[in-house]
Symmetry: D2
Subunit: 464 residues, 4 copies
């Protein structure tokens, strides 16, 4: 795909897969709106994520956070109607970083006031850019992509190096303009806290990942929905009767294990943390190391957020047509490198995102989904709109908070979580759609348990 | 689509959507084989449904039983490699009956020895054909399509009328040659029993629909799998938190209600039968008439096998974007006619099989899946292979039984259920794949409960 | 306990544990009445099982069907207020048969018109009595208890032998008077069918065991409730996290496995029947022989209705404090004889019905509930009233049917199941209490599926 | 019951219900030991709660934390064998405080070194005692019970007043000796934090209530087990098919709702907190205010930790024999005062802890369990041993930590939570019993996610 920016009829820049799908995308967006009560309720107050920001006069530029996760028709609809979009399903890594750079490229002197980040890559690019510009100013030295083994980071350094030539102050101007970022992933938030710890964070950041209405919904309920969806779309396998191994029993693992158990699978959990292991046992799940069960299970799901969970040596021992997939986040949970380089291994693509890998010794094969990347994005359509409504409503509320307080000095160059009353507000915005009615606390009762009548109702450490 | 028979490189006839998908279809068939242990185990003994019959020297001609249920790539693979195929997804009714006629058309003097039927349409065509030929012979009168209001039956009569001209003994020759039929649907079986009752059944029939390994698996476990699959593929809706109404709590309804409940939906059941209603209550489900809940639910599923379940007057009162679908069998469970002819109603096709119908008074719309036909076939891929393996293994065993006994006189022109020990055999063929090991009865124990050591273990009326 | 018949203030005979508990019993009966909507609804039409029969002028004599199942306070209340009662918790086998004889003893020339049987022991006693009287009349020979090894049958023969001396026509007079019996257990029904097959059945019998509202409720829902109840009352063990083995996956096993799984246990099923095994797999349960899991499980439950399921050699290999119990029906599912006679075994009674048996080699012990008899009766209070309401309503309807048709000749000396419309009626009588409302079939719809508008709605072989 | 201290054969003081039950209690303690792997594992390291402390040379004095929660036979066994015990089931409030005082009464000059508290009443008594002694020393003024309306606090003041006369420095000597307290209830911990906030805390305190292995297990898993246990023992009601209302959806409510749903009940939740409400919806539960459902539900359970949840005006509108119970903690969740003083209301005690209250207008009654106090303690046996093992192991580890650090100055007069690695240790001690095996983190993986190989594995705010 030639990396050239195109322009829609209104002159707005974009690069999407197929603009002719814009009508289809628009219909699905309209469907989703009904499923996103929190976000729609926010529209009257805090405006909706992309379209409402646009409607309010904001200029939005959008790229994807994942090379497989874009729904092309939705991207086309937004590109045609509302925002500058640089995203398509199946980007190469180089295309991905080109898109990220485009999203930040508001022309000379321009730049975003706020970043809605999802994984922290936009934030990373700016921080690395500023670092490189400082070094360049001091020493004239430009970034050297060959200084790192990390293939992806080589691309980042290349982009920055090439940009330095045209504008050696580009990222400085960007960070000066930026009011702040709100970030919604574990990975992105972890990077932010590291930058805070080392004193290198360049602007205020709100961690919306740790809102209850984000973390539990995105991880637990979202994956409970989208794991079986991805499995069924990719393989049509009957889940009932199968033996499944869920690696990790955090929120994502809990959601996956619940979905598989409910669908009639026998579920085995692997865990390093004794507390999570005990929780698995209390739900009737077996807890064993992968080695003990690798040759008897039918479905393997990684959910750990760690690396090197299912190695090629595990995969060799699996049953014929065992399904191996990752919904954890990092694409190195499954040893794809080991698999790809295994001598004599044969890859048969059944359909996009569904590959059968046949080992030469046994002639048996395993099915790997989404090339080891997030299977719910690669094989299905990611989380359902209702879950995204919870996450995005957190984002919108965080963005508004940053903007409204941009001159008050309330937010320093630190990482903040959303206050609990806003977390409760996100939940409240989603109740009506589901027909729920809350009970009202009396003043007397509120005093009795020492909370305000209008909340927040729980201490910060409450686990839900 | 012009209705012309094509020929593959081996000269075998076919009519499929796109022959270039044959490789894709072949890969998915190979996947499915691993999931069909009963059918594969049958291969050494009784040969597999299509391909093994072919491999054994049988000549197979295949049409679909439903205008939406064909997977085009699978059809292409079979057409290229194994059998004469006349089927594609999205046939018109006329095309459907043309395909059925083609599947029975073995050229002059030819015809099938056995029929594997699924819905009874092939059997119906032959019976109606024979009836018409008799009348024609006696009176010279040909069938008059305008004699019936039923649009589909008009097509049947037209086909027979047109055939009479070229060969007035075609269906007589066919029925004379036929050893028997095995039928796997409730609808088809019902017709068979009606023909048996009126003495018009023309050849022996085995009812495999009422094998436990067919009825419970196809209905209960199959729908438990494919209902959420269809919902998710068609709408991406979050099932958790939604209110669902399942009309009917037979095996299909039980599977649907279980799937929805497990996915986190609150489920309300409608029932006419007090025993099934009490079963629903015992599972914590609410039992109410549709009228009482029509305006508060988000998802409506018909599973009754009856007609006129969800009428347009119900649909008018539903919430905006309520989802309405049928997984029961008959396409008149939902009042599609009433919907289509509702004054001022507007149909917006979001994607194939997913339509939003907007009522003029309220401007709100409902989402109807698969045009009111079976949503698991229309919006997803039907039952998973493992379930089909149970059903098809029953078919194969029935076909073998008919063939092996074709000269023994064991089977008269009546309807027979498969004997229980064969039903148990189908189950036994599926256990190993799931890692199960049976306990063996001792002679002493078998005597104690008065059953043979090798089974069958239950009386005929046992309910499982 | 001296076996003397006592008389209450109204002169009615009884023998119960403690008449002072009558008030407590009355309160619990009143509680139960609210939970027995079917039976209470029957009161206006067909009268309630004991008390309403009494109120209508019938004279009822009652004994227990199980040496452990009597609730002494309930027995006291009935004995004081309504019927002649001969029953207490913890009868010896001798006391049990004495009670059975008392219940049939209406004085010289008297006897029951109808029997409500539960296990078939009253029916057995009459049939054996008649047989012995015939032999005695012909040959003067009396039954010889030493002719059998079966300890319980020795008691039966003793009772009959002793009775022959005082009245050699006692059981003949009884059977002549008897209009019929209704029987509600699998065991009792099996005996009835055997007598029908050999032509020895002496009076009409209605099999209420195979009503759906009896068999599914008593077995599936009843045990799902009372298994965890019995486990918790007897041992207070945490079910969550434990490994349970359920021997048998019929209706009782299905109820037990569901209860244990839902409480957070990992459940393994043993089965001889491949269909039931496949059903277990479809619910995510593991299916293995007992031998494979005997040393890793914490809880063992027999539900088979067969003998020799858990042998002392199994028990020796179990973990310390493994719990072993039976809810199947026959008290020989667990090898109590092998356990009791194991050399050096030590029995420690923790509390009544809860024994720890310590093996001499390992010094580890297992916990056996209710001495291997039905643990839900021995350790808890049996099925809840709502379930019993379903069963008893079937009994009442059957008794009324027998009585109403006593002169019509409708019922011969055969075994009959209740017609389906009466089965549906039992269910219907229980819906209102649970807030359910049925949907009404239109005439048009009824015709379409070929059933009467008012039911029955399903064919006889329907499996529910 | 005359309040006189008795002495066992070893001269140890006690006051229990019935010392003859000691053998029964001992057997049940031995059973429980097998179910308390964490506590037994602690025995080699940190000694077991009562008996191991005793065995190690500690002198333990024990009272109950709740007037209904003592199991008399267990108390007898401990009193006979190991510790000074002052506790029986069914104490009056006066007896309760007398027992508390006795537990702290080590004779002149004596007193505890450490307190294992459960509800904070022992800690309260000492703090109030010290306050009163200070005032008395300054002003000669003694506490005036009539100065408060709170009946229970009147008893506390009376005890302190009476004690002042004999020893005006008693509580000062006690607090000087005390190394610290570990507290395991929400209520007790709340009081501790309030004392910390006002600077009045007299000694270090460890909050074990907020360990994950305490809070989730005691609240969520414990109540999931003991709610149905209490319901079944008290009423034998069939839970399946019933409509239940769970007031509050915190951890206790989540456990109760899960148990009721799994048992086949339809569950409605009341909530004030929108986040918890949304969690309930995601599990398929309905969320409505009590007013909307009060007349249609069969079972009502309060779990809020707040007061005035079910008022007498609600109870009047309930169905006949609706069951009302509390498992939340505070005994004022149900308006017992309003019920008791309702004009013309009639209380019928069915059995201890199970009362039917009949309203004069309707003559219908409701069933109240445990007089509105904790029904799992009053009607069943509280949490199962396995859950208590988790809680108590936290206590033991906290006590050891306090004792080991008594001279190090590590703990000031503040409230501390147990460090996460000890929380994980408690979990780890319970895995083996359930057959679980953990996965080991490699050094490389540990570095990758920035945790130590041996844990702790999660940040403090992790929600599990």
């Amino acid at each position: 795909m030639a990396l050239l920016v195109e322009k829609n009829s209104a002159g707005r820049e974009y690069k999407v897969k197929d603009m002719s799908q814009a009508d289809f995308g628009r219909l699905e967006i309209e469907l989703a709106e009904v499923e996103m009560p929190g976000l729609m309720a926010s529209r009257t107050e805090p405006p909706v994520l992309i379209e409402t920001l646009t409607a309010l006069g904001a200029e939005v530029r959008w790229c994807s956070c994942n090379i497989f996760s874009t729904q092309d028709h939705a991207a086309a609809a937004i590109a045609r109607d509302s925002a500058a979009v640089f995203a398509w399903k199946g980007e190469t890594l180089q295309e991905y970083w080109w898109c990220t750079e485009r999203a930040l490229d508001w022309g000379p002197g321009g730049g975003p006031d706020l970043i809605v980040d999802d994984g922290g890559d936009a934030t990373l690019l700016i921080h690395e850019g500023v670092k490189a510009e400082e070094l360049y100013e001091k020493t004239g030295q430009v970034p050297d992509p060959s200084s790192t083994d990390n293939q992806e980071f080589q691309l980042v350094l290349t982009i920055i190096r090439d940009g330095l030539k045209s504008d050696p102050k580009r990222y400085h101007k960007m960070k000066d303009r930026l009011v702040g970022v709100s970030e919604e992933t574990t990975t992105g938030v972890k990077r932010l806290y590291q930058m805070q710890a080392t004193g290198t964070l360049l602007f205020p950041a709100i961690n919306v990942n740790d809102s209850v209405t984000k973390s539990k919904f995105d991880n637990l309920y979202g994956c409970r929905h989208s794991l079986p969806d991805g499995l069924m779309r990719a393989t049509d396998v009957m889940i009932a009767g199968k033996v499944s191994v869920v690696c990790g029993y955090g929120d994502v693992g809990k959601g996956c294990a619940a979905a598989l158990k409910q669908a009639g699978s026998r579920v085995i959990v692997t865990e390093i943390d004794p507390i999570c292991a005990l929780q698995a046992l209390m739900e009737g799940l077996q807890v064993l190391p992968l080695e003990d069960v690798v040759s008897e299970a039918d479905i393997f799901v990684t959910t750990t957020g760690n690396k090197d969970i299912i190695m090629v040596d595990h995969m060799r021992k699996m049953k014929n047509n065992a399904i191996v997939c990752n919904i954890g986040h990092f694409d190195n949970e499954i040893d794809m490198h080991g698999l790809e380089t295994y001598p004599g291994v044969k890859r048969i693509t059944i359909k996009p995102q569904t590959d059968r890998w046949v080992f030469p010794e046994t002639k048996t094969g395993i099915i790997v989904l989404a090339e080891g990347r997030l299977m719910n994005l690669g094989c299905a359509t990611g989380h359902p709109s209702f879950v995204m409504s919870c996450s995005f409503t957190n984002q919108v509320i965080a963005q508004l908070e940053l903007w409204n307080e941009r001159k008050s000095g309330k937010y320093e160059k630190k990482v903040y979580v959303l206050p609990k009353h806003l977390d409760e507000k996100v939940a409240a915005l989603h109740l009506g759609k589901l027909g729920a009615k809350l009970t009202k606390l009396s003043k007397d009762q509120a005093d009795y348990i020492s909370v305000p009548v209008e909340g927040p109702y729980k201490p910060a450490h409450y686990r839900y």
